[in-house]
Symmetry: C2
Subunit: 267 residues, 2 copies
């Protein structure tokens, strides 16, 4: 966040690499979409509206599909391409970077640090859809709709803007609900207690534990004072407590001791 004149800028930069953040044989149009959506989701979590993006582009043999997906995504988010850089690295691992510039719409820009004991904990929608989408790709499912949630994630711009004035803390769930919730708890100096059964999931019930640890869904996770009327649909999934020995409790037990809370990257 950067106050500048009469505005507050929100700046994000994400970098992705073949084999780490995307499958090397993925449709480049989907790679471009996800690169844009990831950055837009960072803006959404700050209640910011996009001003534009800068692209750090490593040339491929044929960038037609990449540019098509980029154009689609930028049009979708009303984010003009303001500039950037293009490099050619013969034989190099494909690496792409995107900087997104947003304009804060709310004087107090939300961050992950503001959750207070007594707040409710909410999420805007189900987790696990991207996991199923990636599995569909890996299984070679012919129906492209089966992988849409993974290939074309939707950053929740309108929801972020509507929530920004009301929340005490907000972030997007990009690395898994439990991992991201633990980060919010640490940053805020409180403990978050999650009722796992209350978390909406896009998967069958027997995969709930995985859905809570999978990322790439870009739902918004936020805390708000008890009793506040929310302007968008959201699910109450827990609450903020005074800091205890663990930053995160899942169904009353400290989380992260048996299974990792999430994954940094998986596709």
């Amino acid at each position: 966040m950067l106050p500048l004149g009469t505005e507050t800028l929100v700046l994000t930069h994400d970098m992705i690499a073949a084999g780490v953040h995307f499958l090397p044989d993925a449709d480049p149009a989907d790679i471009a979409w996800r690169l844009v959506a990831t950055n837009m989701s960072d803006l959404a979590a700050k209640g910011a509206e996009p001003v534009g993006v800068l692209l750090g582009h490593m040339l491929d043999e044929d960038d037609t599909r990449f540019l098509a997906g980029l154009g689609e995504a930028l049009a979708h988010y009303h984010a003009p391409l303001l500039g950037g850089d293009t490099i050619a690295v013969p034989g190099g691992t494909r690496v792409l970077g995107l900087t997104a510039i947003g304009r804060a719409t709310c004087p107090r820009v939300p961050s992950r640090t503001g959750a207070r004991a007594g707040d409710g904990l909410y999420i805007t929608g189900p987790v696990g859809a991207a996991m199923l989408g990636l599995e569909a790709i890996r299984a070679g499912t012919p129906d492209p709709a089966a992988s849409l949630a993974y290939r074309r994630p939707e950053a929740l711009m309108a929801e972020g803007r509507a929530l920004a004035p009301l929340v005490t803390a907000m972030m997007d769930v990009s690395d898994g609900l439990l991992l991201d919730a633990a980060r919010m708890a640490r940053a805020s100096g409180i403990t978050l207690a999650i009722d796992s059964a209350a978390v909406p999931i896009a998967t069958p019930e027997n995969r709930r534990a995985e859905a809570l640890r999978w990322g790439d869904d870009y739902q918004l996770l936020f805390t708000a004072p008890a009793g506040v009327v929310l302007p968008v649909p959201a699910f109450a999934i827990g609450r903020a407590l005074d800091a205890g020995p663990a930053p995160l409790l899942v169904d009353g037990a400290p989380a992260g001791e048996e299974a990792p809370l999430g994954y940094q990257h998986r596709g």
Copy 2:
């Protein structure tokens, strides 16, 4: 350039890769410095002052030297690190990106498009120093000062700010004087006539032709109305003419027909 509220932002993004933009065995502190200086020079050419940077960082086995050089460069340019992204790409070509955000200091932000027939053409200082510096590295010259101009280029922030209100067009010379001058001429729709003997060079006279084609010196190239009093030292090296058949004349002859005008990357 991006008008935002009461300010105009200047945004730049540069991406560099091992083996293309820097020697794989270069001191990472120098790589960091050059990455910062390259972006700062883009701001200088717009008369902008740095607001901060975002780093797209691919982790190395040991980033101590990189971070040391980054810290030095950011302190030197008063440009705080505002954020960014860090990725790990095991075995991948090392790629780094930097986004710099600047604040325009002059209501009419200079670009390369404004040169008009009749303007004088100027450069702030000698070209060829970076070429000698890279040669010193390749020759294994023990004196680190011999390669300083290549390893630690200086972006001309104060000069850019002082010149911005007076110039008709301005850019930094990053890819070679002749190539960059030809770009300015094309962008402005005029012809630039350079008197090659008037160009200050950091090399012996017998390497003048190379010095005019080498980049990485980050001098500022600009046009200004005839007779204007310049606020910083600069060398008059030619003038802008009505558009002729060639965008660039060197000593009266169309340039680029015998030798390339410059190089995109060389170290």
